[in-house]
C-alpha cells in the first residue's frame, strides 16, 4: 500500500526562535491510525496543526495523496479536525454544527439533512440534534465534534487530544468508540495524545516524539516490547520501564551485566547484581563499558531466592494487578505482581528477572543496544 500521508523533514521554527519541530519524517498508509505520542511541548500538536494547515511549516514537506500541500490553506486540504476543546459553534444546534461543513461546500439542503440524520444515527446523537453545545456533556460534545470532522468524508482525520477533558472512565469508552468508527470509515487518522495508554489502545502505529524529534515509530507492542531508546522505554508503559545503571563485561561464559550500587549507597556492599545475558542479546555487537539495563515491571518477579534483595517501600493496589515499589541496593524498582501477591511495606523480598526480557541501553545517548 502506498503512503497516503507523508511528512518529510518537517520543521517549525517560530519567529521568536523556538524550534518546536526539528525535522519529522514518517508516512502513513491509507486507512492507518497513527498516534503522535509525547509529553507536553514535544512538538506533537504543532506537527498535527501543520498537517491541517493551521500553521505553516518553516521547512520540509507534507504530501497528502501524493500532492504537496505544505503551503496550502486548511480549506484546500480536505482534512477533518477534532479540537481538544471541541470548538463547536456555540450558537448553532448540534444538527447545524454537523451540517456546517456541508453547507460550506454548497451541498443541497436535502442531501445535508440526510447526511446529518445518517451520522446522528451512527454516532448515537439522535436525541441531541436540536440542542446547543453547552447543553451537552463533555463526551457528547466530543462526539458532535467527531461527527463534524467526519461528515464531509475528508481524506484524513486529525485529532488533537480529543479525549483529554473527559473523565477517566468515559475516556476509555470513547477510545473504543473512536477506533470502531475509524475502522469502519477506513480513514487515515493522525491522533495526538500525551497518554500512552490511549496511544497503545488506538494506534496501528505509534510515533513517539520528544523535544521536536521522533524517538521511535512502530506498532504499539513493538514500541512497548522493543523500545528504541531510554525515553521511549520510560514514557511508554504505566509505570514505565525500570532502569539499573551498570556496565557490560565479557566473561569466559559470555556477556554479563554488572549493576552499580545506587549513588546514595556508595558505602553499601558493592556488586549487588550480576546478570548473565541470554545468547540472543549477547549476539548484538556489544562493547564492554557502561550500560543501562531496562526491565518492564511485569518481568520483575518476587522469588524465594534471587540475585537482588529489595525492601517494599510502597504498595499500589490497582484491582487487576498490584505495583510494588521497591528499594534495592542498585536503586528503586517497580514490580507488577498479581493482586493477591501482597507484601507488607517494609518487608524484604528477593527479586529475579528473566534475562529474555532484559533490554540494554547506552546511558550516554539513550539509544538501545542491539
Amino acid at each position: 500500500m502506498s503512503a497516503h500521508l507523508e511528512l518529510e523533514r518537517l520543521e517549525k521554527t517560530y519567529p521568536d526562535g523556538t524550534r518546536a519541530v526539528k525535522g519529522i519524517d514518517f508516512a502513513a498508509a491509507a486507512g492507518e491510525f497513527i498516534v503522535l505520542l509525547g509529553p507536553s511541548g514535544c512538538g506533537k500538536t504543532t506537527t498535527l496543526r501543520m498537517t491541517a494547515g493551521l500553521e505553516l511549516p518553516t521547512g520540509g514537506a507534507i504530501r497528502l495523496a501524493g500532492v504537496d500541500v505544505s503551503q496550502q490553506r486548511p480549506s484546500r486540504r480536505d482534512v477533518g479536525f477534532v479540537f481538544q476543546f471541541y470548538a463547536l459553534y456555540p450558537h448553532l444546534t448540534v444538527a447545524q454544527n454537523l451540517a456546517f461543513p456541508l453547507e460550506c461546500v454548497g451541498t443541497p439542503r436535502a442531501a445535508r439533512d440526510a447526511a446529518v440524520a445518517d451520522l446522528a444515527h451512527r454516532l448515537e446523537l439522535g436525541p441531541l440534534l436540536s440542542r446547543k453545545p453547552r447543553e451537552l456533556s463533555g463526551g457528547d460534545q466530543q462526539r458532535v465534534a467527531l461527527g463534524r470532522a467526519m461528515i464531509r468524508r475528508p481524506q484524513i482525520w486529525l485529532m488533537d487530544e480529543p479525549l483529554g477533558t473527559l473523565d477517566a472512565d468515559r475516556r476509555l469508552a470513547m477510545c473504543e468508540f473512536l477506533r470502531v468508527q475509524q475502522l469502519e470509515a477506513k480513514v487515515t487518522t493522525l491522533y495526538v495524545t500525551h497518554d500512552q495508554e490511549e496511544a497503545m489502545r488506538l494506534a496501528d502505529r505509534i510515533v513517539v516524539m520528544h523535544d521536536g524529534k521522533i524517538e521511535q515509530v512502530g506498532a504499539p507492542m513493538a514500541v512497548y516490547d522493543e523500545p528504541a531508546s531510554l525515553f521511549v522505554a520510560h514514557f511508554v508503559g504505566s509505570p514505565g520501564m525500570n532502569f539499573l545503571e551498570g556496565s557490560l563485561a565479557r566473561g569466559s561464559d559470555g556477556w554479563r551485566f554488572v549493576a552499580r550500587a545506587a549513588a546514595d549507597r556508595a558505602a553499601a556492599p558493592a556488586a549487588a547484581l550480576e546478570l548473565p545475558l541470554p545468547p540472543a542479546l549477547a549476539r548484538a555487537p556489544l562493547r564492554e563499558g557502561p550500560a543501562t539495563l531496562g526491565i518492564r515491571p511485569e518481568f520483575v518477579r518476587l522469588a524465594a531466592a534471587g540475585p537482588l534483595r529489595a525492601t517494599v517501600v510502597l504498595d499500589e493496589y490497582l484491582g487487576a494487578s498490584r505495583c510494588l515499589h521497591l528499594d534495592t541496593p542498585c536503586g528503586p524498582l517497580v514490580a507488577r505482581v498479581a493482586p493477591e501477591a501482597g507484601a507488607a511495606i517494609g518487608a524484604t523480598v528477593a527479586l529475579d528477572f528473566s534475562p529474555a526480557h532484559v533490554r540494554l541501553f547506552d546511558p550516554e545517548s539513550g539509544a538501545r543496544l542491539r
Binding site: A168, Q196, E197
Partner: protein, 366 residues
Amino acid sequence: MSASPPALRLDSITKRFGRGERAVPALTDVTLEVAPGERLVVLGATGAGKTTLLRVIAGLETPDRGRIELDGRDAAALAPAERDVALVFQNFSLYPHLTVRENLAFPLRAPGRALAAAEIARRVDEAGELLRITRLLDRPAKNLSGGEMQRVAIGRAIVRRPRLFLLDEPLTNLDAKLRESLRLELVKLFRALSVPVVYVTHDQAEALSMADRIVVLSEGRVLQSGTPREIYLAPASPAVARQLGQPAINLIELERRGATWCARDGTPLLPIDAAAARGVADASAALLGVRPEAGRIAAEARASPLRGRVELVEECGPHRVVAVHALGQTLRFAVGNDRSFSPGDAVAIELPPERLLLWPADSSAR
C-alpha cells in the same frame, strides 16, 4: 481516653442548591469518617457531589442538615479560616505574580498566625525540599510547568501544617505520565506527614492505588465505603462495580432456569448452588458481573457453552483487551500480551464461578 476521635466525621450531611421545587440535591445523607493519618479517597463521576463535599468540610458551604466534627468537636460554628484545613484545587490557584517562595509563605503571613520570619523561612525550605522544588523557589509562579505548579500548590497546603488535607482532583490537569509519578510522590508525602487526607477524584486508578479507604459517591449519595480491595472484589452494587476497574466490569443479565443461572438466550452460565449465587438464592433474575481479568478466552474449541467472536483488540502494555461479541452484547477480557487474537476470531469463553459477582436483578439501578 482509650482511642483518639476520628480526624473528621460527617454525620448525615445533606446539602441542596436552590430553593423549594427547583432545589437540586448535591449531597444526601453523607456519613463518613476519616481516622487520624488516614487517606480517604472519594471516588465519583463529574457531578457526583465530590467538590461540594470538600467545600462543606472546608466550611465554604453550610450544609442544610447534618453534623461535621473535626477531631471529635462540632465544627458547625467554625468559619473556614478557623477549621485549620487545607484545600488544594484542580487548577492550582497560585498567585501568578509572586515567586514560589512568596506563594509558599503566603498562608503563613495570614493575620492571626504571626509566625516569626525565621520560622516562615524554615517551613518554606522544608516544604521545598519535601516536594523537590527547592531550585524553583525564586521563580515567578507563572513561569512554572503544570506539574511544578501543582507541587507548589500542595506545598502551600503543607507549610500551614493543617489538621486535615482536602484535595480536589489535584492531578486531573496534568499529563498522564506526570500524573502517574506525582500520584506516587503524594502517597509518600502523606505517609511521611501522617496527616489525614480527603482526596477527591474521578480516576479509579488513583482511588485504588492511593487510598487507605475509598468512598464511592454517586448523585450525592455514598454507595459504598471500604478498602480498595473490598470495593474492587466485593462491590455492593453494579453501580459501584462499574466505577472501578479498567476496562469496566462486564454485566450480564441472568434468569433462573432449573438448577442453573442462564443468560437471556438460555446459555447456562452458573450453577444455582455456586458460592457467588448465595446472595440471590431466592431471586428469579440476577445481574452477573465479570471483571475483564476474571474471564478466560481461548481460540480453540473448549467445552464451554459460551462462545463469541472477537470485535476489537486493544493493546495495554502488559496485557491486551479483547472485545468479544457474545450473548448479544460486547464483553471485554484482559489477556496477557503473549496471547494474540484478531477481529473475527471465534473464541470460547470460560467464566470461573469463584470469580463472578452476582446481584439481584433490581439492583442495577442502585
